[in-house]
Point group: C2
Chain length 334, copies 2
């Protein structure tokens, strides 16, 4: 069973999840594709190679764990957290620890062996964003769990271990520290100005124009003013909402179109880089928050972070967001 | 001139430092060694290839920027921050920005072309730790500057752009966010328990033993309870001190020996991995703090961080610190 441990200085929780390898020093990354001769476990027809599915969008009349699906959700074969059991919170000397209760699911985005989000059809990507919502709504019924992190790793440099298009959901019994800081910061802003910092940011960016990448009625995509990474891009819904799971069907359609346009630009600008996207949303145990605003952060993995960044949270970005957005806006044909 | 920008949500400052490349998408990493046919700019005899030296430990009678040095400090040729000028703090709409005033220095650790910290002689490494102190004492005289980050990147995966042994010092006009959080967290601990959290941790680790790597009279090295990364190791002085620059000559000798023993173990365990070390110390504009304790964090770069970690600050570590420390303690011959 994985273990959650709390750092006594900053209060950051980490998951200590036993290595899959036999020896502690065997840490080589998983290969991006299955070894030669093995089939992709995420392709249609290979359903038996994953744990039994949690849910799927399927053709009428098809059976679970059989072909006929469009999007399929399965438990991660090597979960960082496990659903069974109680927390068993305890102290070990000055340290706090609990059992790694939670969920770790994989959303397989297409039955076809596609690598990129931009290769999905608009309908497939809409279904993916819709399924994220379904999974959050389902998992938040479990009162032990308070936060759902949805993220996607594309490319080995971004941490992906399989290249078939998929994203992941990790649901935890604690609020991750960066999320807690984001919520505290936006609350502070609200206390001073009486407005949501993300709503203000949308107004500011639309007025300034230079950092805007896509301006769609329901979503604005821009390179943030204090971007940590070159070509970092945020996608923010124009209507204030703190929880991703309030997404409407129409919004999921539009979000799919906007995300695809943004990723097409990033892929054209940086020659199909590895990237991550992460959905930032409010904790399960909060009601609609006036001060927080869900959004998606896309981070191309084109520079290596050095010791400086790890040690301090202080990033050096060699490309200004104005430069990145202008470059992407002016790309031909995308 | 580089620019400092503040994220309006969490208050994190980033440096936007103009790309050295002509086009924003040219982000390929520097090669680890100079191109074929070019000499290493950090080797003795090639002093003219760096900016003029700031200081050096030299044989009597030798001249600056000439051979005869043991450790040499030069400005970074591509500085993230620059010393000249004032801050020019200003608002740009809802955003805060200031000019990137600060220092960015390189400490060249040996005149010989050695790649690893473990290849330095004990005297060389002692001189390096002593020079860190000298540079902090010198730069903290500049009242515009409040924080000095000393770090070392070894290996391309850790962000090193040259393989000749060197470390870096970045001095900033703001306290980096992770440092501010560490100080706030340790202050909170002190308020509740009346003790320094790091002092408590030393006692706890020495009593528990399993996570201890090196137990020397003046320094304890251990894998921290809530380690974010496999084989992450901290080195903490046993005598309480908040500021690195209070290091004594005798401490610098002992620190060099402890750091070398720890790195030898890490290199033997992981087959000479890329790694970073970062010195965590108190801001210039504070006096001796009862609640904060300077220390060194060593992070081997053996796993890729995925979107999950970036988005949330929530790390998954596949090797428990007990397992890592036990493995390293039991290595033969090191």
């Amino acid at each position: 069973m994985p273990e959650l441990r709390k750092d006594p200085i900053v209060g950051r929780w980490v998951i200590i999840a036993k290595n899959r390898a036999d020896r502690p020093q065997d840490l080589s990354e998983d290969a991006l594709s299955p070894p030669a001769g093995e089939e992709c476990p995420f392709c249609e027809g290979n359903e038996a190679q994953t744990p039994p599915e949690i849910m799927a969008l399927r053709e009428p009349g098809t059976l679970p764990d059989q072909p006929g699906w469009r999007v399929r959700v399965v438990p991660n074969k090597f979960p960082a957290l496990e659903l069974e059991g109680d927390f068993n919170r305890r102290d070990s000397g000055m340290y706090h620890t609990m059992r790694g209760v939670g969920a770790h699911e994989v959303i397989i985005e297409s039955p076809r062996h596609l690598a990129g989000t931009t290769e999905l059809t608009a309908d497939e990507l809409r279904d993916v964003f819709w399924i994220y919502r379904d999974r959050l709504l389902d998992l938040k019924k479990d009162s032990r769990l308070v936060y759902g992190m949805i993220f996607k790793n594309v490319g080995a440099a971004a941490g992906a271990s399989l290249d078939h298009a998929h994203s992941q959901l990790i649901v935890t019994p604690i609020v991750p520290i960066s999320v807690a800081e984001e919520i505290a910061g936006s609350q502070e802003f609200f206390r001073h100005r009486g407005r949501c910092v993300f709503c203000d940011m949308i107004d500011e960016e639309l007025a300034f124009e230079e950092r805007i990448l896509v301006d769609s009625p329901g979503f604005v995509a821009f390179c943030p003013f204090a971007a940590r990474f070159p070509f970092e891009t945020w996608i923010v819904p124009t209507a204030h909402a703190s929880h991703y799971e309030t997404l409407s069907r129409a919004q999921s359609e539009e979000l799919a179109r906007v995300v695809q346009r943004v990723l097409e630009k990033i892929e054209a600008a940086l020659d199909r880089p590895a990237y991550n996207y992460i959905i930032h949303t409010a904790p399960f145990d909060t009601f609609a928050l006036d001060h927080y605003h869900w959004h998606i952060e896309i981070i191309p993995r084109v520079t290596k972070t050095a010791g400086f960044e790890w040690g301090t949270g202080f990033y050096i970005n060699p490309v200004s967001p104005e430069e990145a957005a202008t470059f992407m806006r002016e790309l031909p044909a995308v």
